[in-house]
């Protein structure tokens, strides 16, 4: 295996509560993610999944252990990272194109023609090329999230962090967006860390799945997904797909019972 793109080494994360007490969110967490690997993180709510993402983004720093990107310790937010949040959080006073170019405007204060061209290409990639001039409130939830994906890709990051990006969408749009994301990922390979609490979503999308324990979050299991790519609707009925999904479900239930 090449040098991993992302490496978590014995990461411990404590938070101070409002009443002064300390809470352990992550406990001795270690894993590697290779180049252009699609890794899903699956776990119960409150297990610190989102903290993983914020550690990688350089928005919070571990209490113990280290988080490395390309072999360098994360000490501040880095340019190699694009983030897609649970909600699209677009800016309602800008049109679609200006929302996609917003990271450029926000970081450097201006947007050049080259970036606008690039933003248009990204909108074509997420199949919203015709909506460049549209207002945000004219778009559906799924379309808004696709704009958010285009925005995250603007600065051409090596790593894409996605924090339950489809969980706010209705079930049908959700499936559609999963296939859409696989198509985008095939066209523009990235190292992806995809946080989710949906088992089928994780199995459908990921090369590997990291299953976490409840708080304090630790790695419970790392599972390889051997469902062949490219995956499609047919993959949902693949025996391996169901076997893996059932395995994860059983492991979640056994933990509840314990």
């Amino acid at each position: 295996m090449d040098e991993p793109v992302i490496r978590f080494r014995n990461v411990v994360q404590d938070f101070t509560r409002d009443d002064g007490g300390r809470v352990r969110a992550l406990d001795n967490l270690s894993f590697d993610i290779g180049r252009h690997e699609f890794v899903a993180v699956l776990g119960p709510s409150g297990c610190g999944k989102s903290t993983l993402l914020r550690l990688l983004a350089g928005l919070v720093f571990p209490t113990g252990g280290s988080v490395e990107i390309f072999g360098m310790k994360v000490t501040e937010p880095r340019d190699e990272i694009g983030i897609v949040f649970q909600r699209p959080t677009l800016l309602p006073w800008y049109n679609v194109l200006d929302n996609v170019t917003f990271p450029m405007r926000h970081k450097y204060g201006r947007v050049t023609e080259a970036e606008k061209t690039r933003a248009r290409e990204l909108l074509d990639l997420v199949e919203l090329g015709a909506f460049a001039g549209a207002g945000i409130d004219q778009l559906s939830g799924g379309m808004q999230q696709r704009v958010a994906i285009a925005r995250a890709l603007l600065l051409d990051p090596d790593i894409l962090l996605m924090d339950e990006p489809f969980s706010a969408l209705d079930a049908l749009t959700r499936d559609e967006m999963s296939f859409e994301l696989m198509r985008i990922w095939a066209e523009k390979p990235k190292t992806v860390l995809f946080i989710t609490h949906s088992i089928p979503e994780a199995v459908l999308l990921a090369d590997r799945i990291i299953v976490m324990t409840p708080r304090p979050g630790a790695v419970r299991e790392v599972l390889d997904v051997r469902v062949p790519r490219p995956r499609s609707l047919a993959s949902l009925s693949d025996p391996q797909f169901n076997a893996l999904a059932n395995h994860i479900r059983a492991s979640l239930f056994s933990r509840r019972a314990a």
Binding site: L59, E76, P77, I83, F85, T89, P103, H106, K107
Partner: protein, 283 residues
Amino acid sequence: MLSPTTSAPASSAVAPPEAEPRKATLGLNIAALANKVAPLLAFLTLLIVWEAGCRLFRVPSFLLPPPSAIVMGARDISGDLWLGHAWATIRVALMGYLAAVVISIPLAIALSSSKLLSRTLYPLIVVVHSMPIVAVAPIIVVTLGASDLPRVVITFLITFFPIVVTTTAGLLATPEELIELSRSLRASRWREYTQIRLPFALPYIFSALKIATTLSVVGAVVAEFVAAEKGLGYMIMFSTSFFKINHSFASLAILVAISLCFFQLMVFIQKWLAPWSLPRSER
């Protein structure tokens, strides 16, 4: 023989869908018209009841003059003089309002950016706002003298609070994800405020600015009650002490008109500068 029979059903088939929308739009127009006229009608009815009541029960004009007497009474005083009084009040209201905006918005930015600052200054702001403005006004006039300054300060004091509180709330209501996006891009604090927080707070800021318009007129009138030789508030004090109630009512009507215009001006500015901050139906 064949052509008329084929054309007849064709035309009759076309006719109903054409007639129906026409009927529908007519019905819609009446509804829309009623929607617009209803408030005006209610207002006119009130005036008529007022007028008729005064005449019927022979209410003395120095207690409650009928609308006609107010209008006639207003004509005792020249238009120039009314304009002078109105302008005196508008000027103070505007200066106090602008002072409140210029001070409140940076103050709100400061309060939203630092918890320590917010904890230090917020109680002070609440204390200042808790002082009944009518009680403080005479003290301010004594302290600051009989110029425009005390009047502007009084107007400021009654106007600034809603702007500070609402703007601060708006600045803190920005979606957390956008602030994380901003930090992940290592953007400056300046851009965080100018490109994310302040625009997101605009719906809040405009609500505050609209509330503040009417408050600024209240402030100007209170200031004139205490010490003034001009203005509509002064006019009300002066005419009531001489039992010229119709002049007081005329002044009041002009004050209401000023407040409404001021409010509508802010509505217009919001529509013009930030239409996205309004609900779709109000754009």
